[in-house]
Amino acid sequence: MSDTLHVATRKGLFTVQRKREGWNIAKVDFLGDNVTLTLTDRRDGRHYAALDHGHFGVKVHRSTATGWEEIAAPAYPPKPEGLEENDMWGRPLNWSTARIWALAAGGAGEPGVLWCGTLPGGLFRSTDHGASWEMVRSLWDHPKRKQWMGGGADLPGIHSICVDPRNARTVAIAVSTGGIWHTEDAGASWTQRGEGMRAEHVPPELTHDPIAQDVHCLAQCPAAPERMWVQHHNGVFVSSDAGRTFREITDVPPSVFGFPVVVHPRDPDTAWFVPEIKDEKRIPCEGKLVVTRTRDGGKSFEVSRKGLPQSHAYDVVYRHALTIDDSGDRLAFGSTTGGVWVSEDQGDSWACVTHTLPPVYSVRFA
């Protein structure tokens, strides 16, 4: 059961703590700076924060006994002389970290191993707690990588990294857009997964092509890793074979569109989503902020409203801004309009921590 939340926002990292009187902001770090993502490594208690300084680039900071220290940021290798590679807009693709979009700890038996997904599509691995990073060349050099396209941003990016708790050499990542990719040899080789997903935003001949899928978020159940949930650009999909095949779930009230998904750590049939009007608007349906939950693998959904604004709410919840703790009882999410809510009863009810933060990019139990 976690009593601490890290809320990464456009203007700083806010630490929210549960005290006797409830959840409150206890600390602010990097005030004024764009903090895009955090990771708490459960193996050693270290915290990591990704910052985007705009003019000055993307940086990574790691917690120390007294504060934070800047460590290496993932850096792309030199682009070979004469190599012409354009992005989907026809502009030269700059081999340079444009955003850190995923941070994940390695397996229990490999302390210090971290994974980092970036825009424009590079995956990086560290074996020394982030002191240095090495690009996973097998994925970057995969010929199909050049078919990845922008989705959530102008450039393609890796936003989800799922390290299999049974075997840390098995890792699944998700790309917007580029579908799901899977390795069983710690990143030495990769195969595309994700049969069964369906994309509405591409011509018919590509609709079912796994590489054309705009996965918004991929979540794997720690206790049952064969179970994966996907919040996709045009739907909700569930897999019972570690992402080889997916089944579409169409009857999700009030909408199948959204960005995040989380799964209960021990019950693979229980998952949560934050739905919105689909892509042309991207706001809560009828101005009512809700969380949907299934407890039966997607056969049915409950809509949770208790404690959430039900009038003129235009909160958008980004893909890293919904989280669940290790107990499976506590959830939290933050919104683009600066709201943060916590539930201690698996989403039956929610308490507002604040509604005045800068835009929230990521919420993680620390």
């Binding site: 705009g54 003019h55 000055f56 940086k59 792309y76 030199p78 682009k79 081999w95 340079s96």
Partner: protein, 89 residues
């Protein structure tokens, strides 16, 4: 040696005091400055060692032309200003 000045805004993240470095191009001068201050390099240059997109460099009052190669000429008495471009917002 050329004098190098860094925008005040960078100082909040990494100390970049005024410095001097030798070189015939802005690349050579900057690499000389960064040799003594390696953390600052990634704040000014991107992964391909090109000038970051929303940064700009003035040599004696002129903005540089070669943002990727940094081959613009520098002389012994040049003043080099590493600034943010307003385009970055």
């Amino acid at each position: 040696m050329a004098k190098v000045f860094f925008t005040e805004n960078i100082q909040r993240h990494v100390a970049c005091p005024e410095t001097e470095a030798a070189g015939r191009t802005v690349r050579e001068v900057l690499e000389g400055a960064f040799a003594a201050n390696p953390q600052a390099r990634g704040y000014v240059l991107d992964d391909q060692a090109a000038l970051r997109r929303h940064m700009t460099i003035f040599i004696d009052g002129r903005t540089i032309r070669d943002r990727a190669g940094l081959s613009d000429a520098v002389n012994e008495t040049s003043s080099i200003y590493v600034f943010q471009a307003l385009s970055g917002g």
